[in-house]
């Protein structure tokens, strides 16, 4: 279904409370499993990075960043690899399940950024960052949200592609070569991680700004008193 399901409880009751079923189970399930998986992937990835915090030659080695051990998962390189190479399958599985669900259920229309959403991006940016008026909203996600979530899904796919190039530079030598070689594949993989972290930062800020009912809807699917007009 393309539009959120609107339920009007006891529609003749004067005290009726509008509620919207925003997030199907599959979306919520994937969201929270991926929250855990991404957390593990990032912090075990940083553990792996600690073993050679550089991009280029081993001799002479120029360290780029000394990531503190306390903020890395796995305790040592071997442990970091265990976490990374375990949770990657959970990450990929939920990613495939999520994309598959969105495509086959048609629910992707709720989140996929389309050309028709382009005109709506600037008014939202102006509203969020420049104290502009709030544009009227009729859908679950505004154009800026769609852009952010669609980008995040794209980054998720890129994280896997660049990861494969680092993990399998022989069997997927064409992919590693396409990314510019083994060290460049590491750089891309690293850069995609920071892009995902940037998304998560913005996402968390927005979740906090939009309050409790909005947050709860990602747990229960149901949003009480949606701030957009339900159809």
């Amino acid at each position: 279904m393309s539009e959120a399901v609107v339920l009007e409880i006891e529609s003749f009751d004067a005290d009726e409370m509008p509620a919207v079923y925003e997030h199907p189970w599959a979306v919520r399930f994937c969201h929270w499993v991926n929250t855990v998986a991404l957390f593990v992937m990032v912090f075990s990835g940083l553990q792996i990075f600690r073993a050679f915090p550089s991009f280029g030659a081993k001799i002479p080695q120029k360290d780029l960043l000394n990531w503190p051990k306390a903020f890395a998962l796995g305790g040592w390189l071997g442990g970091g690899l265990q976490w990374h190479l375990t949770f990657v399958w959970i990450y990929v599985a939920t990613g495939l399940f999520y994309v598959g669900y969105q495509v086959f259920s048609g629910n992707y229309r709720q989140v996929l950024f389309m050309p028709r959403d382009i005109p709506g991006v600037w008014p939202m940016v102006r509203h969020y960052f420049l104290f502009g008026p709030k544009p009227p909203q009729r859908e679950v996600y505004n154009p800026l949200q769609k852009l952010a979530y669609t980008s995040a899904i794209g980054l998720g796919i890129l994280s896997v592609i660049t990861g494969v190039a680092v993990w399998k530079p022989v069997q997927f030598s064409w992919l590693t070569a396409l990314l510019g070689g083994f060290q460049w594949a590491r750089i891309w993989h690293f850069a995609v991680m920071w892009a995902i972290l940037f998304f998560i930062f913005g996402h968390l800020v927005m979740v906090i700004l939009h309050g409790w009912n909005n947050f709860v809807s990602m747990l229960t699917g149901w949003k009480k008193d949606p701030d957009y007009a339900p159809r």
Binding site: L81, Q82, T86
Partner: protein, 239 residues
């Protein structure tokens, strides 16, 4: 605000939907030390299984022009113990045992008598660095044929002068780029790089490239997998 009835209905719907998310809590098993290590071992094992499926015996690792080879002095020397375990070259032999028709002590000349292969291939360390090196030696597959190895066996296991040890699955051992290497950069191996004989396996991660070989065994059963593998690194780690 909704009436009380409606509020209750909303709450019950919400509760039901929330309960449907409980499978996510299964991930909490990774937070329990008793379950964590076996689960991570399973996960790494699954990764190795996928790796093995992705291996293609006819697929070659990229090779490089001489101009793209990392200079010899920039080729890192990585050891777990000593740079030079002090091998006595005059007395050195490779002890061959296991599922072979001709076990025994093999001299370096016997290895070198087989056809020589020279290749510029990439060495990728598990730490994340890589170098392109120039390697020359005998195809391990040729040597296995010469010693009458049972190539339907599962593993080739090697031991080293510095007590390092490693193993390769047979498919990798038979790969045409897997070498018993005795030359790097067109010169006999230096002691730091594993003289007189080392493994070069471009389809595997760096720690599989064992140096200072002393023993080679063809076997179906591994008592030990490898020095790093037995501490928790991937057993297969194919690139």
């Amino acid at each position: 605000m909704g009436s009380k009835t409606n509020d209750a209905k909303f709450k019950s719907m919400s509760r039901r939907e929330l309960l449907k998310l409980t499978p996510v809590l299964a991930l909490g098993a990774f937070a329990i030390p008793k379950f964590r290590d076996p689960l991570l071992k399973k996960g790494l094992g699954f990764s190795d299984w996928v790796s093995e499926k992705l291996f293609r015996e006819g697929h070659m690792a990229p090779t490089f022009a001489d101009a793209d080879v990392t200079p010899f002095d920039k080729f890192p020397i990585n050891d777990y113990d000593v740079d030079d375990p002090g091998v006595d070259f005059d007395k050195w032999t490779l002890s061959v045992s296991g599922l072979v028709q001709k076990p025994g002590e093999y001299k370096l000349e016997q290895v070198q008598a087989l056809p020589k292969v020279r290749q510029n291939t990439q060495h990728v360390c598990v730490e994340g660095w890589n170098v392109v090196g120039s390697f020359a030696g005998t195809k391990l597959s040729d040597f296995l044929q010469a010693i009458g190895a049972d190539t339907s066996a599962k593993f080739v296991y090697v031991e080293c002068a510095d007590d390092y040890y490693e193993s390769l699955d047979m498919a990798t051992a038979l790969h045409p780029q897997t070498l018993l290497c005795y030359e790097m950069y067109d010169k006999p191996l230096t002691r730091e790089h594993g003289a007189p004989l080392r493994l070069t396996v471009p389809t595997k991660i760096g720690y599989k490239q064992a140096k200072y070989l002393t023993d080679l065994k063809v076997t179906n059963v591994l008592q030990k997998v490898g020095y790093w593998e037995d501490q928790g690194y991937s057993s297969y780690y194919g690139l």
